[in-house]
C-alpha cells in the first residue's frame, strides 16, 4: 500500500494510485506557525489585525467578515496607500516558532507533506483593506497604485515565506486566495494576467526555489477561465474547485499540468440537516465523473474541517468506501 504522500504523487503525475487521495490526508498543516491573525478567531469576536483590518464574527454566523464601513475601512483612498498601509513584521521569537518546529519535526515526511499555510491571499488582501467594490474599481481607475500595493503585499509574503522555510522546511504550501464567485471569476483573465499572475509567479516561484515541492491553492469558486494562469504561476493542485467549473472537462483539458481537489460543494452537503446519503451521492458522482487521476475528492471548504460537526469525517468515510468500490 502506498503512503499518503506516494499515493498523492501517483495521482498528480498520472501514475498508478491504489486508492483515492482522501481530502486533506496528504497535508500535515503546521497551523502552529506564528502569523498575523488574519481573521476573527471564533463566533462572537471582533479583532483588528496588524494590517489595520477589522474582522467581525457575529455569534450566529459561520465565518468572519472584514468591516468596511467608514469607521473601519483600513484603506479609504488607494492613491494614499503608502500612508495608510503598513505590513506587520514577519519576525517572531524562537519561542513563538517552537510549537511549529516541533510539529514539523514530528511528521513522517515519507507519509505526509509538511505543509505551510498562508492566508489571506494577495487579491483578498486588497479587498480586505479597501472593500471589494473599491478594490475592483481601482484596478481600472488607479492601476499603478494597485500594482504598487500588490507589490508591497508580495514583498511581505516573500519575507514571511523566508521565515517559514527557515523554521519548518515545508514540503508543500497551502495558500488561500478566492478568485471568483460560484459562477464567474471576479476579474477577467486579461486583468488577472496583468495584476495577479505576476505577483504569484514571484511568490510561488520563491517557495518552489526553496524546497517546496507542491503548491496547493485554495479558491472555492468558479475559476476555470484562470486555469492557464494557475499552471503558469506554478500551482500543482487547485483546491476548492466547485462543480460549476465542470471538473471532468478541466481534467481532460489540463490533467498532467495541474490537478483538481474538490468537486463536492460544501454548500450542498455541509448544512445543519446534512446526511451521509447526500454526501455519498455527491462524492460518488464526483469520483465517477472525474476518475482516478489528477483528481482528489474533497469538500470545497478551505481547511480540513466542516462548518457543521461530522460532515468532514463523514465525507472521509464515504471516500474510503468509494475507494473500495472503485479501485
Amino acid at each position: 500500500m502506498l503512503t499518503k504522500r506516494q499515493n498523492l504523487m501517483e495521482v498528480i503525475k498520472g501514475g498508478n494510485p491504489d486508492r483515492f487521495v482522501n481530502q486533506y490526508e496528504f497535508m500535515d498543516l503546521i497551523m502552529e506557525a506564528p502569523m498575523d491573525l488574519p481573521l476573527a478567531p471564533a463566533p462572537g469576536t471582533r479583532v483588528k489585525n496588524k494590517w489595520g483590518i477589522t474582522f467581525d464574527w457575529p455569534a450566529d454566523q459561520i465565518g468572519s467578515f472584514p468591516m468596511h464601513d467608514d469607521e473601519h475601512k483600513a484603506l479609504k483612498d488607494i492613491t494614499n496607500w503608502k500612508e495608510s498601509v503598513t505590513a506587520p513584521s514577519v519576525f517572531y521569537t524562537d519561542e513563538e516558532w517552537a510549537a511549529a518546529e516541533a510539529h514539523a519535526k514530528a511528521v513522517d515526511r515519507n507519509d505526509k507533506f509538511v505543509t505551510a499555510f498562508c492566508a489571506p491571499g494577495i487579491f483578498e488582501m486588497t479587498h480586505h483593506l479597501m472593500s471589494m467594490e473599491d478594490a475592483l474599481m481601482a484596478l481600472y481607475e488607479e492601476p499603478e497604485a494597485m500594482k504598487e500595493l500588490i507589490d508591497y503585499v508580495v514583498e511581505y509574503e516573500l519575507a514571511y515565506a523566508k521565515e517559514v522555510i527557515k523554521h519548518i522546511h515545508p514540503d508543500a504550501l497551502f495558500h488561500h486566495d478566492d478568485w471568483g464567485s460560484q459562477r464567474s471569476s471576479f476579474i477577467s483573465p486579461e486583468m488577472f494576467d496583468e495584476f495577479i499572475l505576476p505577483a504569484y509567479k514571484k511568490v510561488y516561484g520563491y517557495w518552489k526555489a526553496n524546497g517546496v515541492e507542491l503548491i496547493i491553492h485554495h479558491s472555492d469558486s468558479y475559476a476555470a477561465n484562470l486555469v492557464p494562469a494557475m499552471i503558469e504561476m506554478g500551482i500543482d493542485i487547485w483546491q476548492g474547485v466547485m462543480t460549476t467549473n465542470n471538473v471532468p472537462e478541466l481534467i481532460k483539458q489540463y490533467g498532467g499540468k495541474i490537478s483538481f481537489m474538490g468537486d463536492i460543494d460544501s454548500g450542498r452537503v455541509d448544512f445543519p440537516g446534512w446526511t451521509r446519503e447526500l454526501i455519498y451521492a455527491d462524492a460518488k458522482k464526483a469520483c465517477e465523473e472525474c476518475g482516478k487521476l489528477y483528481f482528489i475528492p474533497n469538500l470545497s471548504q478551505g481547511l480540513n474541517i466542516s462548518s457543521f460537526p461530522g460532515v468532514y469525517e463523514a465525507t472521509s468515510e464515504v471516500i474510503d468506501e468509494l475507494s473500495k468500490e472503485m479501485f
Binding site: I62, M132, M137, Y140, S181, S188, M191, R268
Partner: protein, 209 residues
C-alpha cells in the same frame, strides 16, 4: 456621433470622469434630461447583458454604474419631481442571519441603473423589516431579497412569505448562490435572477407588466 450616443458609449465603457461633461453637452445641445437618462439606462442594460453572458466581469460593471451615477448627478437638479422617469421604488436587503453584501450591492446598483429608486436595508434583515420598509416608502413596486448561505434559505423563505402575506401586490424577487428558479417558485417569489444583470431585467419586467 451625437452627444447622446457618446454618453451611451462612455457609460458602457465606464468613463466616469468624461460622462458628466458629455451629459452637460447633450443638455446644451437641447436634449431632454429624460432622453439622456434613458440613454444611460439603455447602456446599463447592455452592460447587464454582457455581464450575464460572461463577456464582462464585476469591475467593468462597477465602473459603468459609477459613470452612470456621475451622469445622473448632472441630471438630478433638472428632474426633481419628475416621477415619470422612475420605474418605482425597490426595497433590497440580505435576509436575516446572512451578512453577505457584495452580490446584493451589485444587484442594487444594476436595478438602480435600470430606473428604480433604491432603498437598501443592508444585511441581516428580518422579514418584518422588509414589510415595514414597504409600508414606510412610496410607490414600492419590488422587494429584492438576497441569501448566500444554505443555512439562511429558511430565512429567505420566511422573508418572501411574510412580504407577500402583507403586500400581495408587491413583487418579490430572490437570488443568491444556493437559490434556484425552482426554489424561488417553491417559496412563492415572483421572480429569480442568477446574477446582477438578469436581476435588473427581471425587475423591469415585473414592474412594467
Amino acid at each position: 456621433m451625437s452627444k447622446i450616443e457618446e454618453v451611451k458609449a462612455k457609460v458602457e465603457a465606464g468613463k466616469s470622469k468624461l460622462v458628466p461633461g458629455l451629459v452637460q453637452e447633450a443638455l446644451d445641445e437641447g436634449s431632454a434630461p429624460g432622453e439622456i437618462l434613458q440613454a444611460m439606462v439603455d447602456s446599463m442594460s447592455v452592460v447587464g447583458d454582457k455581464f450575464s453572458s460572461g463577456e464582462i466581469f464585476v469591475p467593468e460593471m462597477l465602473i459603468a454604474a459609477k459613470a452612470m451615477s456621475k451622469g445622473v448627478e448632472v441630471l438630478k437638479p433638472l428632474m426633481t419631481g419628475d416621477g415619470s422617469a422612475s420605474l418605482g421604488t425597490c426595497i433590497i436587503g440580505t435576509v436575516a442571519g446572512d451578512l453577505h453584501d457584495i452580490g446584493k450591492n451589485l444587484v442594487s446598483m444594476m436595478i438602480e441603473s435600470a430606473g428604480f429608486d433604491m432603498v437598501d436595508l443592508g444585511v441581516d434583515v428580518p422579514a418584518a423589516t422588509f414589510v415595514q420598509a414597504v409600508n414606510d416608502n412610496q410607490n414600492v413596486k419590488l422587494v429584492a431579497c438576497s441569501g448566500l448561505l444554505t443555512t439562511t434559505m429558511p430565512a429567505l423563505k420566511e422573508a418572501v412569505q411574510t412580504i407577500k402575506a402583507a403586500h400581495p401586490d408587491v413583487n418579490v424577487i430572490v437570488g443568491g448562490a444556493p437559490v434556484t428558479p425552482e426554489y424561488a417558485a417553491e417559496v412563492g417569489a415572483d421572480g429569480y435572477a442568477p446574477d446582477a444583470g438578469s436581476a435588473a431585467v427581471k425587475a423591469k419586467e415585473l414592474a412594467t407588466a
